[in-house]
Symmetry: C2
Subunit: 224 residues, 2 copies
Amino acid sequence: MTGNGQKRAVGRPPRIEKQRIVDVARRILEEEGVEAVSMRRIAKEVGATPMALYHHVRDKDELLMLTLAGMASTVPRPELPDDPRDRIVATAVHMHAVLSDMIWVIDVLSRGDLTDKGALWMADEIVDSAIRCGLTPHQAIHAYRTIWYLVYGALVFRRADARRAADPGRKPFFPSLLTQDDAGDLPRLAALSEQWEEVTAAYDVAAQLEAVVDGLLARAVSPG
Amino acid sequence: MTGNGQKRAVGRPPRIEKQRIVDVARRILEEEGVEAVSMRRIAKEVGATPMALYHHVRDKDELLMLTLAGMASTVPRPELPDDPRDRIVATAVHMHAVLSDMIWVIDVLSRGDLTDKGALWMADEIVDSAIRCGLTPHQAIHAYRTIWYLVYGALVFRRADARRAADPGRKPFFPSLLTQDDAGDLPRLAALSEQWEEVTAAYDVAAQLEAVVDGLLARAVSPG
DNA sequence: ACCTGAACACCGTTCAAGT
DNA sequence: ACCTGAACACCGTTCAAGT
């Protein structure tokens, strides 16, 4: 009819919009997490039967992937330092900070692929800056992945720690269950068990990224 | 009756053993992954009703945690180099290699806490060696976490890549969907898009860990 | 083309009852 | 103490039919 310039308007006009389905899925992800998302729940909230969704998406996995699209553009792109080493660190810290505020994204990412073009500038910045620091393109790509793994792991376990802290029913296995018998096998952990929780709570991603990036850049043929 | 020295044998004797429940759960995890594990499936395989399991474990989450117990002892503890820096790297590489062969463990770990005392020697070795390299205990614990995050992230995304490669139906978003239009915004990624998959497939965790560990140890007050 | 309705083959967990 | 049976409130997805 009106025509959106992409599709011919033949047959029955859609009663539910694909974008509306994705928006509802994302809202549930944001508010209640990935475990609360179901095809039936989404269908109910958009006012359709569960099977109506399958006309717009292949399956639940594809729908989850679609929720990532456009998320990067909801956050302003930060000013970055000119120095390439600092630029890598700042970009990685930004990645961590942004995902920290939309933690459901990591659950969707772990199920599949990145589907938001708007997030790729961060990979581009890190790879580009690493090459300008003297890494080969090969090394730069590997460095980018290492940085991403660290950011991702830090987010996963920060949330795991937070969940444990929120649920007093389940005490942490370590260091709680460390007995005197273990002091012989695990001398350092036994000695540090008192401080363990306090120290891990003080984990500083930015400081760690600085150290890691310096280590990765030290592999450059012509450093600095 | 015979008495195991831990519990008084009062009331009805158990018909299903807790250890048998955990063993069946672990077998399903190993063979079919965490998504295939259900209370009903386990109950069927041990020859009981679903609700019988709840007499031995609090819920599904606790049962999953129990599957981790004893896993570390199935792998021989490796000989480690004496040099503390090399010792950290070797321990981390060992962690990655071991978990690579029991990849279901990372799915269980991400849901909760470590519950296998036999795995703690690796944390002890890394923290101890880091302190012997001149880090403060505080820094050493942070370094351990950074190393663990890297190992974990590498495992998560190596499997994600493998799954994508196994499923030709879903093409990877990047670099496939990178068009000529993106070359302006993402110059490095556009230039490297041809090599991207080949290079990421060649990701070498050991080499990355060496660089990362060197970066972390460079924070020591009295290096080396 | 788009959507419904019924059905299939599942879930985790509570509750009351049996031995 | 240990286990069963029935029930509650859910899942993702296929298939045939309606408009």
